[in-house]
Symmetry: C2
């Protein structure tokens, strides 16, 4: 039952714990991309409707959030702007707008919100973060290989270990249809059905294949080959009579080889034409493409020459990857419980005239690199202030009352052990910085 204070349907409020986890992951990704020489790009949240609409077909256009014209034009009910649907259309516009100012090749990453008026469901949002890396202006298969390596390193740096990267190519798929004698007109439907082997049982896929018009024997053989233990070997052998298929296997070698090299610790993680899983035959993909998987797809990548031109940009060769960052975030462990660890120090204010010295103590702790918060409530009682300190998840409480003022000390209370120590006022920042350092280690 939605509450009037909930965020709009399909969107989320991120409070501290979750936002911190997200920002940390985004920071890791930025630094991996930068280590490959990808530059950041940020475009506006909205584009003009003519830039955005008509690029991805009618179904996608229905999912675009359109912005009403303003002022005297509002009554027209027309839209002149629309929220970003993905990062690729803005990239095409930027490539057209800044062409010669951009380096060649232009390697950029983009990380930010996109908006789609999809029906919200578990794991599906109307506002979500997209994270893309793309290289414009290089036809080299090394550009594909580099993207795959960067995508691989990004997932590894986030702490994912059990993923696989399935590499494939459009030509391998054509060869596959050829050697299994699939009638050409059934080709796209057959690939779409085979692509569901990740999520559906072999029997269900076979029945989808036959319902799409493939005869039962061919459907059975295809699925058997692709789900076999030694699927990769069987497919490679089966492809031998097909010139197209063999050319495809050759085409994806550089990316697969680079991926395996990047992954030298785990040589079995990058699979060239693994069971020849169809690997998303979007019409735009040409050449090799890949899909990292961990209990389902967690990204997709590949070459998409000419797409930038179709999207209104210049006709430049292009290759890229999109990390399924929202799904990846759900696979990462949550940070340790609650507010724990967000604050090093809580500082008491035990009387009005002690506020000044307490502020000064907090300021000195901050200058020493610690996170410190001063009591802002109405109670002058130590017990209440200690409870506040614990609620904040602070590691220590600095107690500074009249006794401490007279002695020239600060009482440092360890909120885990409840042990207290009197530390000379002048030494307290160094003392804590030192203890914080050893607690981290």
């Amino acid at each position: 039952m939605p509450n009037q204070f909930d965020p709009p349907s399909g969107t989320r409020d991120f409070l501290a714990a979750e936002l911190t986890k997200r920002e940390r992951a985004f920071g890791v990704l930025r630094s991996v991309f930068a280590s490959y020489g990808f530059e950041p790009l940020q475009t506006p949240a909205f584009e003009r409707v003519d830039v955005l609409l008509g690029k991805y077909g009618d179904e996608a256009d229905k999912l675009v959030f359109k912005i009403l014209r303003r002022g005297e034009h509002e009554a027209s009910g027309e839209a002149d702007l629309a929220l970003r649907y993905d990062m690729t259309v803005p990239l095409a516009r930027v490539a057209a707008a800044y062409g010669s100012q951009l380096p060649t090749p232009y390697k950029r990453y983009a990380m930010g919100s996109v908006w789609r008026a999809d029906r919200p469901g578990r794991g599906r949002f109307r506002e979500f973060t997209q994270c893309d890396i793309d290289t414009l202006g290089s036809t080299s298969p090394l550009a594909d290989a580099e993207i795959l390596c960067a995508h691989h390193d990004a997932m590894t740096a986030l702490g994912l270990t059990d993923f696989r990267i399935l590499v494939n190519s459009r030509q391998v798929l054509s060869g596959l249809l050829e050697v299994f004698a699939v009638p050409p007109e059934l080709g796209p439907g057959v690939l779409t059905a085979l692509d569901k082997l990740d999520k559906m049982s072999p029997a269900d896929v076979i029945s989808e294949l036959t319902s799409r018009g493939l005869d039962e024997q061919a459907a059975g053989e295809l699925v058997a080959a692709m789900t076999a233990e030694d699927a990769s070997e069987r497919i490679r052998t089966a492809l031998k009579p097909s010139e197209t298929g063999m050319a495809g296997l050759e085409e994806l070698e550089p990316a697969a080889r680079a991926g395996r090299r990047a992954d030298s610790g785990r040589p079995d993680r990058v699979h060239a034409a693994d069971g020849a899983r169809p690997q998303l035959p979007t019409p735009a993909r040409s050449g090799s493409s890949w899909r990292p998987a961990y209990r389902g797809s967690i990204g997709a990548g590949g070459r998409y020459d000419h797409l930038i031109a179709q999207l209104g940009g210049p006709d430049v060769p292009a290759t890229g990857s999109s990390l399924g960052i929202e799904r990846i975030l759900t696979l990462l462990p949550d940070d340790a419980g609650g507010r724990q660890g967000t604050l090093d120090l809580a500082v008491t204010v035990l009387a009005d005239d002690l506020a000044g010295p307490s502020f000064a103590l907090a300021a000195r702790a901050r200058a020493a690199g610690l996170r410190a918060s001063v009591y802002l409530g109405a109670s002058g009682k130590l017990g209440k202030q200690l409870r506040w300190a614990a609620d904040q998840g602070a590691r220590w409480c600095l107690i500074y009352g009249n006794a401490e003022r007279e002695a020239g000390t600060v009482t440092v209370r360890d909120l885990l052990s409840a042990e207290q120590e009197a530390v000379p006022e002048a030494e307290v920042a160094d003392y804590l910085a030192c203890r914080a350092g050893s607690a981290d280690g």
Copy 2:
């Protein structure tokens, strides 16, 4: 003349250099706020129209970007959502939605885009970043003082030095109107006019005051007092007969004192009731308020009890600051020219069969903390690849050709001095990490 590939009017594309500068500044701010125990909060880009509209008056409502309903409802021309206009309305909603899950007091920062359909002009955008810190749930003047200190430290950490913080209070302003015998009905207009002393000449302000109905002598005296060398002293003396004015001076003491303490290196930077500049009497501000200034206003802050309730949230006391981050960014120095410094290493690919080792060299350099990019172009010529390396702003170029492969070395070329050195392949990552370290220092 706007180009069809420009971003929408009033919005900006941020390419690498500018975006890097912005992100660096945002990172500095996050870490200052965290050091005070403020937590991050991120709300959706849009809210339901009923949450957003009718909160700031008709003029503000006209500036809201409204989102058209979708599907069968699109033809109605009605809006059900609207882009975030500021960070305060979403904060009020969050306070209502998560009340007891939030710590008490709730100290949060929010940094993100807001959208206003203002007429774009120099330094005025339709999409811009807002950066707010707020404390909900504390009536203590220490909460105001803490916000002021955090705002102060944030500006200092960004590298601003020549700013002043003008602290004021509603009661001081009332006292001021009282002792200069301004008729109560003229009060708000007089304060609005005096607030322009930052931007307009004293003579122009006097003429605005008289056009608002103040007699010429009173207008002249007021402006003379407020623009005098010793304005602060003169106003303090003048306020003595006013009980309200004296109470106001007392009320703003904690914030001013805390600010001066935070600013112990520059004791003249925080000014209590400096020339009693009116300091924007928005109807919502109660208690003390402040405005950091550096050639104009670069932020504003103060207490705003009851505003959260007016905005649809619970009736909690509140105080906060908004940093004028877009203006502050224009005051910060640009990073050193062009792409310089975004890449440590450019790695050649001088033949197809050398791509593998070149990829491996780049991977080893990245593992050692360096940013490395591999040549993705079509030329096998060293000269062309060296030009590419220089265009990328790389510090070094790693040359790995057949001669190097035979010798088991890598040629490291310093792109500043054009000096070259042969380094054993196994040592190259360490060698570069070491040189990069000493080049930084």
